[in-house]
């Protein structure tokens, strides 16, 4: 008792009564509302979210500055980070009704199915988003149920990066753009020596390309990873052939064993950067970021073709161009016109193009791509030429992934690991793949 009395009389100035406390608590409770009110009277705000490397962050922040300078009173809040965990964070933001206005989305399927992303067809028709200089076939790859939900914020294709230094030292010629899988295997073997591998494996721990490479092979046979009604688009024969091709290279020491490939958590830790491999398959859009991590000169070439090859034989050109990043607008965006204006600005504004250069791959607008080509680095020149070669040779046709596509890609990733770590035979891995894919796709 005495103690409490002491406390109460301790300082006459700081006398606590129930009333003062209630008033204080009330003020505290209302204060968020007050700040909310003052916010609403402020200038407009917009939130922009993306993933990428430092290079892309810097360029995108500069892009935001430029857009803000053209829209006085507008504040754009950037939200950016690496790829790992990006989609999970975004999904959670959508679930909480707190998603950004404009954003890159890695796995748009579930969000589109739930009606959370804005169909852009009206804006395109009204000329608010100008896609007249963009490739229609690439735009089509982003269509879901006939509607255009996104526009490509850059073009890319699956490609191989070459460490030119290794090729020079080994006196092996850099392959042509039209190289076959046979030639790929031969080059990979000829560059290998103990502890060093001709090429990185086709799967990576980050799982970002374990289905993309397969899709190139499948398209050579006029098949796709999925069917239009969302089932697996290939049979046990194709996938067995695929696994066997890589298993033989692994056993020959031309691609690294499982432990080395599993160390890669992103292109920053890829074997071409850690000095373990001379060739590296990934999406072409990371060219400048990848070059920034090594002193060795890098060049780019498309995925090998199955035409005229004995391994992974195909009867048409398999590689294809897609959007490296798709930019989406939140269906609940505060100011949809402003969001559309930003998308159009990012795609078509010449000044914006000079800032972005190739931060997200080749600009989707052919006019803009031509405009910036003189300003770009050698590796980016090589990337632009590669994307152009693939665009000129690609076979028509595209089947979009179902919303569980990313989950199937993770499964493909684990299947590759099961073979690479010799935890299961190829035959068992294949049958397990179809079992589990059937469950995922329902």
């Amino acid at each position: 008792m005495a103690k409490q009395a002491d406390l109460k009389t301790a300082g006459p100035a700081g006398r606590l009564t129930r009333r003062t406390i209630l008033v204080g608590a009330g003020a505290l409770a209302v204060s968020p509302l007050l700040s909310g009110v003052s916010f609403a009277q402020d200038a407009t705000t917009m939130r922009l979210s993306w993933w990428g490397s430092d290079d892309r962050h810097k360029k995108t922040l500069a892009l935001i500055q430029l857009f803000q300078s053209k829209h006085p009173g507008l504040t754009i809040t950037p939200e950016y980070g690496g790829f790992v965990g990006y989609q999970d964070k975004l999904s959670t933001q959508f679930a909480g009704g707190n998603a950004p206005d404009v954003m890159q989305v890695a796995e748009p399927g579930p969000l589109i199915a739930a009606g959370r992303l804005l169909a852009l067809d009206d804006y395109i028709a009204a000329g608010k988003i100008d896609v007249s200089n963009a490739s229609q076939s690439v735009l089509d790859t982003a269509k879901v149920d006939g509607k255009q939900y996104s526009v490509p914020w850059g073009l890319a294709c699956g490609c191989y990066f070459f460490d030119n230094q290794v090729f020079e030292d080994a006196k092996v010629d850099i392959p042509d753009y039209g190289w076959t899988w046979d030639e790929y295997a031969k080059v990979a073997k000829s560059l290998s020596k103990p502890g060093f591998y001709g090429s990185a494996d086709i799967w990576a721990a980050a799982g970002t390309r374990s289905l993309a490479g397969l899709e190139v092979f499948l398209r050579g046979r006029q098949k796709y990873a999925f069917t239009p009604d969302g089932k697996i688009g290939f049979g046990p024969d194709e996938i067995t052939e695929w696994f066997t091709f890589w298993d033989e290279l692994r056993k020959a020491g031309a691609v690294p064993p499982g432990e080395v490939t599993a160390l890669e958590t992103g292109f920053e830790t890829s074997p071409i950067i850690t000095g373990k491999a001379a060739m590296y398959p990934i999406n072409s859009s990371i060219a400048s970021s990848l070059q920034g991590l090594t002193k060795h000169k890098l060049t780019v070439a498309p995925f090998p073709t199955g035409v005229g090859s004995t391994a992974l034989k195909g009867d048409q050109y398999g590689a294809f161009v897609n959007s490296s990043m798709q930019v989406f607008i939140n269906a609940d965006a505060k100011d949809k016109d402003l969001a559309a204006a930003f998308v159009n600005f990012a795609l078509n504004d010449p000044e914006a193009a000079k800032i972005q250069l190739m931060a997200r791959g080749v600009p989707a607008s052919s006019k803009i791509a031509e405009l910036v080509t003189p300003d770009i680095s050698p590796v980016e020149q090589s990337m632009v030429a590669t994307v152009k070669y693939v665009a000129d040779h690609a076979s028509p046709g595209f089947v979009p992934w179902p919303k569980q596509g990313a989950e199937v890609q993770d499964l493909m990733q684990r299947s590759h690991q099961a073979v690479a770590f010799e935890q299961a035979s190829i035959a068992d891995t294949v049958s397990q793949f179809f079992d589990q894919a059937g469950q995922i796709l329902g």
């Binding site: 579930p110 684990r414 690991q417 099961a418």
Partner: protein, 322 residues
Amino acid sequence: MAIGHSSESPAATGVSPSRAGTRLTRTRKPLSDNAYGYLFLSPWLVGLLVFLAGPTLVSLYLSFTDFNLLQPPKWVGAQNYITLFTRDPRYLKALRVTFTYVFTAAPLNLIFALLLALLLNSKIRGISFYRAVYYVPSLLGGSVAIAILWQQIFGLDGVVSQILGFFGVHGTSWVSSPKQALWTLVILHVWQFGSAMIIFLAGLKQIPAELYEAATIDGAGKVRRFWFITLPMLTPVIFFNLVLQIINSFQAFTPAFIISGGKGGPLDSTLFYTLYVYIQGFTNFRMGYASAMGWILLIIIGVFTALAFLSSKYWVHYDDAR
């Protein structure tokens, strides 16, 4: 007196009227004191109700639904629970990984912490400096930076491989091999012995010196003193640490998430239970399914904690019970 403990109304406890009277006058003032108490507690109370109790109950409901985070949940009965145990090999794998981790990492951590506490319980110069130094790892251990450091140490050209290479053992990449990846995480956990060590140290300080003196006079050596004095006297502290360890290690998440790039790889070898909950809930949009997993984890932790408590009467010695 057993009834008295349940402290309902004074009449029911059979307290004499005069004492009940003093109690009433006493409780009137504390009532307003209690209001202050609750007021000061309110940040915590509101947090508990809004951020813990609420979501917990909602997740119980969600565990019986098909819920993709974006559309309203659909009631599916016990389907999620049935699928978990009959049609999801990855779930069973996650259970195996988690149990292996808990039953190795938790005891090893305790043994290590106890050994260091014994060492640091000596009276040498600068002992507090050593104690601080040995505590540092557990300040850092849960952090992302350390998980990345671990990746380097146990990676292909990491320190461990190089040291082994020096002795002619062919090095491999420990973090990225399905056979060894989990053990690097166990080592990481054992390395974070600090907090358990501090509690052990406090426990050691509590043991009356006269017990040791008496035992020494009776001719007991160091080993016997440890087995017959230190260990029995320390059992309440061991018990406390054990319960904390069980709960913590069942919920391990960060190291596996960082080291495996969020996938629990290679080949699901570090697919901790909580990591699989996260993957299903936030990566695959199966929040109902993830909720069902969360509730099973709650039951598992509950059972093991209960087992620890039940077993405690056979091996934990409290002073007052003697």
